[in-house]
C-alpha cells in the first residue's frame, strides 16, 4: 500500500484529475493551432486563408494562456492546500461547482471563437486574447470569460475556507509554505481580475449586446492591462511554487530558505498589479508620469524573481551535495538530470533566466519603443509562459499524474525526451522571434511580407529566421505528441501500489526564521490595494475625463463571419470535433457533479 495523494485524498484527486485533463485538452487544441499558425506565418505551409489566421491566433492564445494554464494551476493549488494543511476540502460539492463553472465558461468562450471558422452561424470572436475594443466579439465570448473567472474566484474561496478551518484548529502555527503561496497568489488574483471584470461587465458585454452605444477604447484597454499583466504572475506563481516546494525535493535536498520564499510571494502580491501600464508605454492619452510609475514598480518586480533564482539554485546545489556532488560547479553533474521532473523544471528555469533579460528590455520605458508589438515580444512570452510555466507544468505532470491517478507513469524515457525536445524547439523558435523583432517584424500578423519594403537582417536572413521558427514549431509539436502519449499511456495503466509518497520539500531555514508579520495577509493585501489605488486612480480618472466613460462615437468592427470560401475541411473537422469534445467534457463534468451530490 502506498501513501500517494490518491490514497490520502481520493475525492480531491478526482477533482485534480478533471482539472488536469481539461488543461491538457486545451493544451492539445492550443498546440494544433500553434503549428498551423507557425507554418502559415513562416510561409512553409498555408492551407487557411490569411483572414482566418486571426481566428487561429485567438484560439491559440485563449486556450493556452487561459484554459491550459489556469485549469492546471487550480489542480496544483488544490493539491497544495490539501497536502500542506493535511485536510480535505470543506465541501466537495462546492469544489466541483467551481470546476464546473470554469468548464462551462471556457466552453462558451471556446465555442464563440471556433464558430469563427464556419459560416453556419454568425457567432465569431476573432478578437485575440486582448479583445481590444472597437474590435467586437460575440457576447458569448465575454460571458464565458466572466463565468470562467468567477469559477476561479470560488476556487479561491474554497482554499481560503480550508485555511480558515485549519487556522481555527491550529491557532498558533505558521501557515505552511505551499498554502501561503496559494493564498497570496489568490489575493493578487482577486485584485487583478477586478480590472477585467469591470471592462467586461460594465462596458464590453453590454456593448456587444447593444445595450450601450459605444465604449472608450483607451479605458477598456487600460482595464484589460490592469488584469493583463498580473495574469502572467497568476501563471508564473504556480511554476514558482513548484520550483520552491518540489524541485529541491527532486534534487535530493531541501529548500534553502522558507522566509525568503514568503518574501517573494508577498512582493508579487504587492507589486503585480500596479504595473499594467507598462504594456501601454506607447499609448497616446496616458501621461508620461503614469508610465514612469508603472515602470518603477515593474523594475522592482525583478527583485522577487532574482531572489527566486538564488534560492532555487542554492536549493539545487544543496540537493546535489547531498547526492555526493562536489566542487564549485562539479555539483551540477550530481543532479538527477535523467529524471524528467527535474530536467524539465531545471530547463524551464534556465529559459526563464533568458526571458528575464528580454523582459528587462521590455520594461525599459524608452527602449521599449524599439520592440513594442514586434516579434520580439512573442519570443519573450514563449520563454515565460511558453516555457518557464508550460514546461514546468509538463514536467511536474510526470510527478503529479501517478499521485492523482494511482498509476505508474507510462514512460520516463519518453518523458525525458519530451522535456528536452521542448527546450530545444523553444530555443530555436524564441531566439529567431527575438531577432526578428529587432528587425521590426511585427507580431500578430498572418503574413509579415509586405509590398513596399523588406525586412533587412544584419546577420543571417529573414528566410533563415523563418526556417528556425518553423523547425522550432515542429519540434514543439512533436514534444506535445510525446507528452500526450504519456498522459494517455499512464491513464491506461493499472492501479499501482508502488508509488512515491505524497510530500514536498523540507527547508534548511524554516518558517521559524520568518518574521510573524510575513503571515499577516491582511496587511499585505492592504498595501497592495493602496499601491493599486496610487498607480491607477489618476490614470483612470484622466482617461475618463479625456475620452468619456463611454467614449466617443466609434466605428465598431464586429468580427462576424468573414471570408469563408477558403476554409479547409481540416479546419472544419477540427472545429466540429472540438465542439463535440467540449460538449462531452461539459456533460462529463455535469455528470460528475450530479454524481457527487448525494
Amino acid at each position: 500500500m502506498s501513501n500517494a495523494y490518491i490514497d490520502q485524498f481520493p475525492a480531491e484527486a478526482k477533482v485534480i484529475r478533471a482539472a488536469f485533463y481539461s488543461s491538457f485538452f486545451a493544451l492539445a487544441l492550443g498546440g494544433v493551432f500553434g503549428i498551423i499558425q507557425t507554418l502559415h506565418r513562416t510561409g512553409y505551409y498555408r492551407f487557411i486563408d490569411s483572414a482566418d489566421y486571426y481566428t487561429v491566433l485567438t484560439a491559440h492564445g485563449v486556450f493556452l494562456v487561459i484554459s491550459f494554464t489556469i485549469f492546471f494551476l487550480v489542480g496544483i493549488f488544490t493539491w497544495a492546500i490539501t497536502t500542506s494543511l493535511d485536510r480535505g476540502v470543506e465541501d466537495l460539492r462546492f469544489t466541483w461547482g467551481w470546476y464546473g463553472l470554469m468548464a462551462v465558461g471556457i466552453t462558451l468562450t471556446g465555442v464563440a471563437i471556433l464558430a469563427g471558422f464556419t459560416d453556419a452561424t454568425d457567432i465569431s470572436a476573432s478578437v485575440l486574447f486582448t479583445f481590444y475594443a472597437p474590435l467586437q466579439a460575440h457576447p458569448l465570448f465575454y460571458l464565458g470569460l466572466v463565468l470562467f473567472v468567477v469559477g476561479t474566484w470560488f476556487a479561491g474561496v474554497d482554499w481560503f475556507r480550508s485555511w480558515w478551518a485549519w487556522k481555527a484548529e491550529n491557532p498558533d502555527e505558521r501557515i505552511p509554505l505551499p498554502a501561503f503561496m496559494v493564498l497570496t497568489t489568490m489575493l493578487m488574483w482577486y485584485i487583478a481580475t477586478l480590472g477585467v471584470a469591470a471592462a467586461i461587465l460594465l462596458f464590453l458585454l453590454p456593448w456587444s449586446l447593444g445595450l450601450i452605444e459605444s465604449v472608450n477604447p483607451l479605458l477598456t484597454r487600460t482595464l484589460f492591462w490592469f488584469f493583463g499583466h498580473p495574469v502572467v504572475y497568476f501563471w508564473l506563481m504556480p511554476a514558482y511554487m513548484m520550483w520552491y516546494v518540489l524541485l529541491p525535493k527532486i534534487s535530493g535536498g531541501k529548500l534553502f530558505s522558507d522566509p525568503l520564499a514568503r518574501v517573494v510571494f508577498v512582493l508579487f502580491l504587492i507589486l503585480s498589479v500596479p504595473t499594467g501600464i507598462h504594456h501601454q508605454y506607447l499609448d497616446p492619452g496616458i501621461a508620461e508620469g503614469f508610465k514612469f510609475i508603472a515602470m518603477t514598480n515593474t523594475m522592482f518586480l525583478l527583485l522577487p524573481s532574482l531572489l527566486t533564482a538564488f534560492t532555487v539554485v542554492a536549493s539545487m546545489e544543496h540537493g546535489a551535495r547531498q547526492r555526493g556532488g562536489e566542487g564549485y560547479l562539479g555539483w551540477l553533474k550530481a543532479l538527477p538530470w535523467r529524471d524528467p521532473v527535474f530536467a524539465g523544471m531545471a530547463l524551464a528555469g534556465l529559459m526563464f533566466a533568458a526571458a528575464g533579460f528580454s523582459g528587462m528590455i521590455n520594461a525599459g520605458m524608452n527602449i521599449n519603443y524599439l520592440v513594442h508589438n514586434t516579434f520580439w515580444v512573442v519570443g519573450h512570452f514563449h520563454l515565460t509562459v511558453g516555457t518557464a510555466v508550460a514546461l514546468t507544468f509538463m514536467a511536474v505532470t510526470y510527478w503529479f499524474l501517478p499521485q492523482v491517478t494511482g498509476k505508474q507513469l507510462w514512460s520516463r524515457s519518453v518523458a525525458l525526451g519530451q522535456v528536452v525536445l521542448w527546450f530545444v524547439g523553444m530555443t530555436f523558435m524564441s531566439n529567431a522571434m527575438h531577432r526578428g523583432g529587432l528587425l521590426g517584424i511585427p507580431r500578430r500578423t498572418a503574413e509579415p511580407q509586405y509590398d513596399g519594403f523588406e525586412f533587412e537582417a544584419a546577420v543571417g536572413s529573414v528566410a533563415e529566421l523563418d526556417a528556425q521558427i518553423a523547425l522550432g514549431g515542429v519540434l514543439l509539436t512533436l514534444s506535445l505528441v510525446l507528452f500526450f502519449a504519456n498522459v494517455v499511456g499512464t491513464a491506461l495503466n493499472g492501479r499501482s501500489d508502488d508509488l512515491p509518497d505524497n510530500s514536498y520539500a523540507g527547508t534548511l531555514s524554516g518558517p521559524e526564521d520568518a518574521p510573524q508579520i510575513l503571515d499577516n495577509l491582511k496587511l499585505w493585501t492592504a498595501i497592495a490595494v493602496v499601491l493599486v489605488i496610487f498607480a491607477y486612480t489618476f490614470p483612470l480618472l484622466s482617461i475618463i475625463d479625456r475620452g468619456g466613460l463611454f467614449g466617443p462615437e466609434l466605428v465598431e468592427l464586429p468580427l462576424s463571419t468573414l471570408d469563408l470560401e477558403s476554409i479547409s475541411a481540416l479546419a472544419l473537422a477540427v472545429e466540429q470535433s472540438t465542439i463535440a469534445t467540449l460538449e462531452t467534457t461539459a456533460d462529463t463534468a455535469t455528470a460528475v457533479i450530479a454524481g457527487v451530490i448525494p
Binding site: P259, L260, P442, F453, S509
Partner: protein, 265 residues
C-alpha cells in the same frame, strides 16, 4: 530573520541593478530628452475626422526652417497620406489618429513606434538625417486585412523635396481657330520661396514660364494656345512643375454643335 550572507550580497546586487536600470532610463528621459508618447494632444471624434482641421486632409506641413508636421490617419487597412514624404535633416512631428479601431504606426527597424487609438492623437517628434525609405506597418491586430496594412515614409534629399501642389484645368473641346487656355494653380506650401518653371506641353508645342512663388502662396497662371496650329483632333496636354504633373485632353473640331465644354477638363 535569518538570511544567508551570500543571499544578502545577492539581494544588494539585485537592488543595485534595479536602481541602475531606473537611473539610466531617467537619464534618457531627462538629460537626453527622449520623450514618450503621452497625453499632450486633445482628443478627437473618430467619426468626424473629415471636419477636423488637423485630419480632414492628411498631409505634411512645414512649420519652421527644418521643422515639419505630418498629420496621419490610420484606418482599416491603410495609412493616409502614403507615402509620407519629408526632407533630409529635418525634425518631423507626427500626429497620428485612427478613424476606426486600434492600429499602430511603426517605422520598421526604428524606435518610431506608437499605438493609434481612436479618439486619441499620438504625437512623436523624429529627427531624420540622411535620405532613406522606411516601411510603415500596423503592428496591432486590426481585423482580417491587418497583414495588408502598410505604408512608407520617404526621406528625400533637399533638392527633391517640396510641398508644391499643382492643379491644371483646360477645356474639353474648342472650335478650330479659338484659343485653348489652360489654367494652372501652383501652391507652394513650404515656408521659403521657390523658383521654378511651369511647362505646358500640348501637341508639338511647349510653353514655359519661369516663376517665383513665395512661401505659403498660390500662383495662378494661364497658358494660351491657338487651336489652329494644333489642327483638328484630340490633343493631350501636360503641365509640369518640378516632379509634379497634371494633364488633360482637348478636342479641336471644325464646328461644334453646342458652345459649352470649356468649364472642366
Amino acid at each position: 530573520m535569518n538570511i544567508h550572507a551570500y543571499e544578502k550580497l545577492w539581494l544588494v546586487a539585485a537592488m543595485l541593478l534595479i536602481v541602475g536600470f531606473i537611473a539610466t532610463i531617467t537619464y534618457g528621459s531627462v538629460a537626453l530628452g527622449i520623450t514618450m508618447v503621452g497625453d499632450q494632444q486633445d482628443t478627437v471624434e473618430p467619426t468626424e475626422l473629415a471636419d477636423d482641421d488637423r485630419f480632414d486632409d492628411p498631409r505634411v506641413e512645414q512649420v519652421g526652417e527644418n521643422e515639419y508636421e505630418a498629420y496621419v490617419v490610420a484606418q482599416t487597412f491603410s495609412f493616409q497620406p502614403n507615402p509620407i514624404e519629408v526632407p533630409e535633416d529635418s525634425d518631423v512631428t507626427f500626429y497620428v489618429t485612427s478613424r476606426d479601431v486600434i492600429h499602430s504606426f511603426s517605422l520598421v527597424g526604428t524606435n518610431v513606434n506608437t499605438m493609434v487609438i481612436p479618439g486619441e492623437v499620438a504625437e512623436m517628434t523624429v529627427e531624420f538625417d540622411d535620405p532613406a525609405e522606411y516601411g510603415v506597418v500596423c503592428n496591432e491586430y486590426c481585423g482580417p486585412g491587418h497583414h495588408d496594412m502598410e505604408g512608407e515614409v520617404h526621406v528625400v534629399s533637399e533638392d527633391e523635396f517640396d510641398l508644391t501642389e499643382l492643379e491644371a484645368d483646360g477645356p474639353d473641346e474648342v472650335e478650330t481657330g479659338d484659343e485653348i487656355s489652360v489654367d494652372v494653380t501652383t501652391e507652394n506650401r513650404q515656408l521659403e520661396a521657390i523658383e521654378t518653371t511651369i511647362t505646358l506641353e500640348i501637341g508639338d508645342e511647349t510653353l514655359t514660364e519661369d516663376v517665383t512663388i513665395e512661401g505659403g502662396e498660390t500662383l495662378e497662371t494661364t497658358f494660351t494656345v491657338d487651336s489652329a496650329t494644333l489642327g483638328e483632333g484630340d490633343h493631350d496636354w501636360t503641365v509640369t512643375v518640378d516632379d509634379h504633373t497634371d494633364s488633360g485632353t482637348v478636342t479641336v473640331a471644325d464646328d461644334l454643335e453646342d458652345d459649352g465644354g470649356d468649364d472642366d477638363e
